[in-house]
Symmetry: C2
Subunit: 105 residues, 2 copies
């Protein structure tokens, strides 16, 4: 399993609304699992900084597989207005990907 | 297991030096494991933003246990100069802790 981390930003005045909207649809959760996302967490700082962490055998393949699903297109369309930079769509380069430099099992 | 995420900042002009210094001592790795840290990763953005992620049965207890070790005191003393805000010592409030709002196993 590879470990992946990204950051992105929600518009500060929409942070509360974003949190409430982030009750992820069961079909979106299923699409993530089917695409290979494991142990996927999203964390937030009150100013709208978001950190995502997930594990996948092949993170790039998982992103591509998810990106081809109809439910992901609907989800991203629904979420786009919350993001100040990029679309929040992991496929479209919205997030910044970080590099792992330490790991302890 | 609880999942924990924090962010902190390395001084931008010391990013390269910090990376090279971050070859964690075996005794520090052992102290982390003994304190209950599991699946602990650190990620970096080129500007010095650092994201930490770990899992622990009781994250607060793990931090407190680590904070009492002699090796941690030595490690933090060695690392303090790299951090622009706080000490980088997880016990002393340097990092900002984020709140998890989504999880997919």
């Amino acid at each position: 399993m590879k470990r992946v981390c990204f950051v992105l930003r929600v518009k500060q005045d929409l942070v509360e609304e974003y949190r409430e909207a982030h009750d992820v649809w069961p079909e979106m959760r299923a699409a993530l699992s089917e695409a290979g996302f494991r142990n996927y967490s999203l964390f937030m700082r009150p100013d709208g900084l978001i950190v995502g962490y997930f594990e996948a055998e092949d993170p790039q393949a998982a992103l591509e597989t998810l990106g081809k699903t109809e439910v992901n297109a609907r989800w991203q369309k629904n979420m786009a207005r919350f993001f100040s930079a990029g679309s929040g769509d992991l496929q479209k380069g919205g997030p910044e990907w970080l590099e792992e430099y330490f790991h302890l099992p």
